[in-house]
């Protein structure tokens, strides 16, 4: 039935667009020439609908939208053939991912130090 087909298509496109957040996968696609396929490039443009809030709220990995935007540029698509490019993006992504954890750890440390100081001064 049409409904089931649409539901399926929705799930598939939801999965696929989020796969674009994986730089290794992007490198995989680039090396197999998918980014040179006109139909594929058009498909990437079509996927931009995930930026709308009513669709974006289903994304677990909203960072995929940033990748999707970058993928609209031919220069970016060409660069992704290089493994170093993918590696660099991967590293930066992971560092950024850790940003808040690190920040929280620093805050906790600072708080712990302050408490220690308070304790010693009270004594």
């Amino acid at each position: 039935s049409d409904d089931a087909g649409n539901r399926l298509r929705f799930q598939l496109e939801l999965e696929f667009v989020q796969c674009l957040a994986n730089p290794n996968y992007l490198n995989f696609l680039a090396q197999r020439g998918y980014f040179k396929d006109k139909a594929f490039v058009n498909y990437l443009k079509y996927l931009l609908y995930w930026k709308e809030p009513e669709y974006a709220k289903y994304l677990k990995y909203p960072q995929c939208l940033h990748m999707l935007e970058l993928l609209q540029y031919e220069h970016f698509r060409k660069e992704l053939v290089n493994a170093q490019c993918a590696k660099f993006i991967d590293e930066q992504q992971i560092l950024h991912w850790q940003h808040y954890s690190r920040k929280r750890m620093r805050l906790q440390q600072a708080l712990a130090e302050q408490q220690q100081q308070n304790n010693t001064s009270v004594k």
Binding site: D3, G5, N6, R7, L8, R9, F10, Q11, L12, E13, L14, E15, F16, Q18, C19, A21, N22, P23, N24, Y25, F28, L29, Y34, K38, A39, F40, N42, Y43, Y46, Y49, P53, E54, Y55, K57, Y58, L59, K60, Y61, P62, Q63, C64, Q93, I94, H96, W97, Q98, H99, Y100, S101, R104, M105
Partner: protein
């Protein structure tokens, strides 16, 4: 004066020209009369000139007043233009905010969803070597719908174009998602827009060259007018 001198000298000389004397006297009287008239004229002109000066001063004053007024009007216009511009900007941002209005509950729910699963924020215990990533990993991709779409004998993650999978006629047995990144709570009204399996269709004007190439390749006609590379 000269006339008077001449008259005086001629008197002293007692010249036998009485007719001349009266003539000269008449001339003198005439000249005097003219002179008096000229004097009157000069006085009148002087008065007019004086009036002109007064009027000029008044005109100058009016000119200054007008310039003052002009300056003030310009200032007022400038202030009003600024105010109107800022008001318009405010209205624009109000409209923008109104359009993007989302209930705080939804935002909090979403924020929780993407954070609790460590999708956008690394787990606090993460160390290098931990397989978790800020994107779907290979494992996740393969266990998703896409991964199960295609023949498991083909390696890697395939089935990029849903069109392929649908054309292959294969449907997965299990639609229930295993990872929360595959949505299970989507409403039936949520549909992907403008679906056509033919992503080769481009807006007119694009890709004319390629089309021509195809034509040339498929015909033997030598009278083709298109450029071939």
């Amino acid at each position: 004066r000269e006339l008077i001198e001449i008259l005086a000298i001629s008197r002293n000389q007692k010249l036998p020209q009485p007719g001349e004397e009266s003539q000269i006297l008449e001339l003198l009287i005439q000249r005097d009369g003219e002179f008096q008239e000229l004097m009157k004229l000069a006085v009148d002109q002087g008065k007019i000139h004086h009036e002109m000066q007064l009027l000029e001063k008044v005109v100058e004053k009016r000119d200054n007043d007008i310039q003052q007024l002009q300056k003030q009007l310009k200032e007022a216009e400038h202030i009003l233009a600024t105010a109107v511009y800022q008001a318009k900007e405010k209205l624009k941002s109000i409209e923008k905010a109104r359009k993007g209005a989302i209930s705080s509950e939804e935002i909090i729910k979403y924020a929780h969803r993407i954070s609790a699963s460590n999708a956008v924020c690394a787990p606090l215990t993460w160390v290098p070597g931990d397989p978790r990533r800020p994107y779907p990993t290979d494992l996740e991709m393969r266990s998703g719908l896409l991964g199960q779409m295609n023949n498991p004998s083909t390696n890697g993650v395939n089935g990029h174009l849903p069109g392929d999978a649908l054309a292959a006629g294969r449907l997965p047995d299990v639609l229930a998602p295993q990872y929360p990144w595959q949505s299970s709570d989507m409403s039936m009204n949520m549909l992907p827009p403008n679906h056509s399996n033919d992503f080769l269709l481009e807006p007119p004007g694009h890709n004319k060259e390629n089309e021509d190439d195809v034509e040339v390749m498929s015909t033997d006609s030598s009278s083709s007018s298109s450029d071939s590379d």
